[in-house]
């Protein structure tokens, strides 16, 4: 099955929520909607589910226009950020409820509930009611109910946002396995770049109601077509510096000149913006073909495995990440080093013009 949004726009009270979004989702794929709050993720899901109607544009299923078709006649399941279960029913009955509505025979219900419970590791809790479960178990119950329905389209709207960090991490690693086993179209909304990377599949990068870039997740991460995509898909936030290329050398904003080596060599003369993620900024000057800046430490955040060093340089804030524990004093100045082969270069229209080849 394929579900297609064809030039869909949705405006509510004169405020555009979705602006001209086209995308196609195939059976057996996992599609991540990545973007900050209010970027249109939930609006897209509501359109896909048929809860809202597009202001213009069409919603096609297998090429057939279903724009006006009632939501109850569509094969859709949805999981929300809040844990929504029937409080008075046992976990078993909660999972079985969509099958009961469909009037399935008893034996089939038992088999399918057992299968879903196994997949989501809910077997020990089937007799309890949702309120006797932890948040993670409640959300797994909601997911099991969505899966067991056998819907062609499963929508998950930030399903892990209300869970503890560690539980989130565990469910995240299990989700790709669960998705693979199902074969439906999955759409998964999240604000977190790391979550998108862990889930894999395809990513739709959302910003102010637009789908900025659609592609395989690692591809979108490694080749953000615009500055905005790079910013949405960076955690810690993307670092930026302006450059001017002229006569075979680059001049960084704030006054450092360097030979236009690496990715800079192929640029035509003009002004650009260079974006680099935290791990692309080194804090030791070892090699020659690199560009060093004098930056001031504002704060160091240490997680044990990594240290995030917050820097200011020429009025911009940067973050660098180092492996292991490194403590720097606030106010200390140090060399922040860029590898001209390992940066993203954006032109005046914020389009990507150069990206690292293979990292």
């Amino acid at each position: 099955m394929t579900v297609t949004l064809d030039h869909v726009t949705r405006t509510v009270d004169g405020i555009p929520h979705i602006r001209d979004v086209s995308l196609t989702l195939e059976s057996g794929t996992l599609n991540v909607l990545l973007g900050p709050t209010l970027s249109g993720k939930t609006s897209i899901m509501r359109l896909l589910a048929g809860l809202d109607k597009p202001t213009s544009g069409k919603l096609l299923v297998n090429g057939k226009d279903v724009t006006g078709v009632d939501v109850r006649q569509r094969s859709v399941a949805m999981v929300y950020q809040q844990f929504i279960n029937y409080p008075s029913l046992s976990v078993y009955e909660n999972i079985a409820s969509p099958l009961r509505v469909q009037g399935k025979p008893r034996a089939e219900i038992e088999a399918r509930v057992a299968e879903a419970a196994r997949l989501l590791r809910l077997e020990p809790f089937l007799k309890r009611t949702p309120l006797q479960l932890s948040g993670g178990q409640q959300q797994r119950t909601a997911m099991a109910r969505a899966l067991v329905k056998g819907a062609d389209l499963v929508l998950l709207d930030e399903p892990l946002a209300n869970l503890d960090y560690k539980l989130r991490e565990e469910l995240r690693t299990e989700l790709p396995r669960i998705f693979e086993a199902s074969g439906a179209i999955f759409v998964y909304a999240t604000t977190e770049p790391t979550e998108a990377l862990l889930l894999g599949g395809n990513t739709v990068c959302m910003w102010e109601g637009k789908a900025l870039q659609i592609g395989e997740t690692p591809n979108v991460y490694r080749h953000p077509q615009s500055l905005r995509v790079a910013q949405v898909f960076s955690d810690p936030p993307l670092n930026l510096v302006g450059i001017e290329k002229k006569n075979g050398s680059v001049q960084y904003a704030g006054g450092i000149a360097a030979p236009a080596s690496g990715l800079y060599s192929s640029l035509s003369d003009g002004a650009y913006r260079v974006g680099f993620r935290a791990h692309q900024l080194a804090l030791a000057n070892g090699e020659t073909d690199r560009h060093a800046f004098n930056a001031t430490v504002t704060v160091t955040e240490i997680t044990g495995s990594e240290s995030f060093v917050h820097l200011t340089r020429d009025g911009s804030n940067w973050v660098a990440v180092l492996h292991g524990v490194h403590e720097f004093e606030p106010g200390q100045t140090l060399d922040a080093v860029l590898d001209p082969n390992d940066v993203f270069v954006f032109d005046a229209a914020d389009r990507l013009v150069a990206a690292p080849g293979n990292t």
């Binding site: 929520h17 979705i18 709050t37 970027s39 993720k41």
Partner: protein
């Protein structure tokens, strides 16, 4: 939200249309018809145009004088009971327990007056206040207060107002209580930590959060008190003299007492119009206040 449209849904509304047509529109048209005519009994009617309406608004005529005087009494009554019931209701809501078995108990006690039929409330107070056999009237007179709602205007007013306060403060209190319950515990904790006094907590947290329910309470109480009939009719019958004759009592006097159907019809239309206008004003104020408070939401 423009949901997917289902034309069949109109069929479900049809019965309501029919019922409303028979129960409201047709009788209303009859009243409009009567309001333009005069009758001397025997089912003889004469065309009078807008004559009754002109008289109604002219205080120098008998009809106008009676109408405007009762309207004034009605407005005064509504203002007084609002001024008493709203603050009192808030006070009661604030002093109610927030958890434990006492919550249910106090809710039941509060609900009791609301469950008593209007005319029973009237009867209760009518007896309660009687100087000869009523507990209240007897005690008041016994301790030296000359209290008699049948002969004294002020006593009659006090009785009617106290009766209404007794009957309806619970409603305001219950609405406010619901509003208070919806305030998250964190707000109180934050206020404690911020060192806020009891008064500051009320002003900065409780009152703003009760805003909307208070508007509803004021609306309900205003509408209800403006249309009040049964209780004062049972207690004072509109007297002594005309001192507690409200618009609805006047209306019944004209319609059934004098059988002046034309005058009564015109009066009831104007009365109805006033209530509609007041409703509309309240509704607009409330929805505007709501729109103002609504945070940015949508494309989440």
């Amino acid at each position: 939200m423009d949901k997917t449209i289902n034309q069949k849904a109109w069929f479900l509304v049809l019965p309501v249309f029919l019922v409303v047509a028979f129960s409201a529109v047709l009788p209303l048209m009859t009243v409009v018809n009567y309001s333009m005519q005069d009758t001397f009994g025997n089912n003889q009617f004469f065309w009078n145009g807008v004559g009754w309406f002109k008289e109604l608004l002219d205080p120098s005529t008998d009809l106008g004088g009676r109408f405007l005087a009762s309207l004034g009494r009605n407005l005064f009554f509504s203002l007084v009971i609002l001024a008493i019931e709203v603050p009192l209701g808030i006070l009661v809501a604030l002093s109610m327990p927030r958890q434990g078995w006492t919550v249910a108990a106090s809710l039941v006690i509060l609900a009791l007056p609301l469950l008593i039929p209007w005319n029973v409330v009237g009867t209760i107070w009518q007896i309660f206040g009687r100087p000869d056999i009523g507990l209240l009237g007897y005690v008041l007179n016994h301790i030296g207060l000359d209290y008699n709602y049948v002969s004294n205007d002020i006593d009659a007013w006090v009785t009617v107002i106290v009766m209404d306060v007794w009957h309806w403060t619970s409603l305001v209190a219950l609405l406010c209580y619901a509003g208070l319950k919806s305030i998250p515990e964190a707000y109180y904790q934050a206020a404690q930590i911020d060192g806020a006094s009891r008064w500051a907590v009320f002003k900065a947290i409780q009152l703003p959060k009760m805003n909307r329910v208070l508007l509803i309470a004021v609306l309900l109480r205003f509408m209800d008190s403006f249309m009040i009939y049964t209780e004062p009719f049972v207690v004072t019958g509109g007297g002594p003299g005309n001192s507690t004759t409200f618009v609805s009592i006047e209306l019944v006097k004209i319609a059934l007492g004098q059988f002046d159907l034309g005058k009564a019809a015109a009066l009831s239309l104007v009365y109805n119009l006033i209530i509609l206008i007041v409703c509309w004003i309240f509704y607009t104020v409330m929805t505007n206040a709501g729109a103002e408070r609504k945070p940015q939401e949508g494309a989440a």
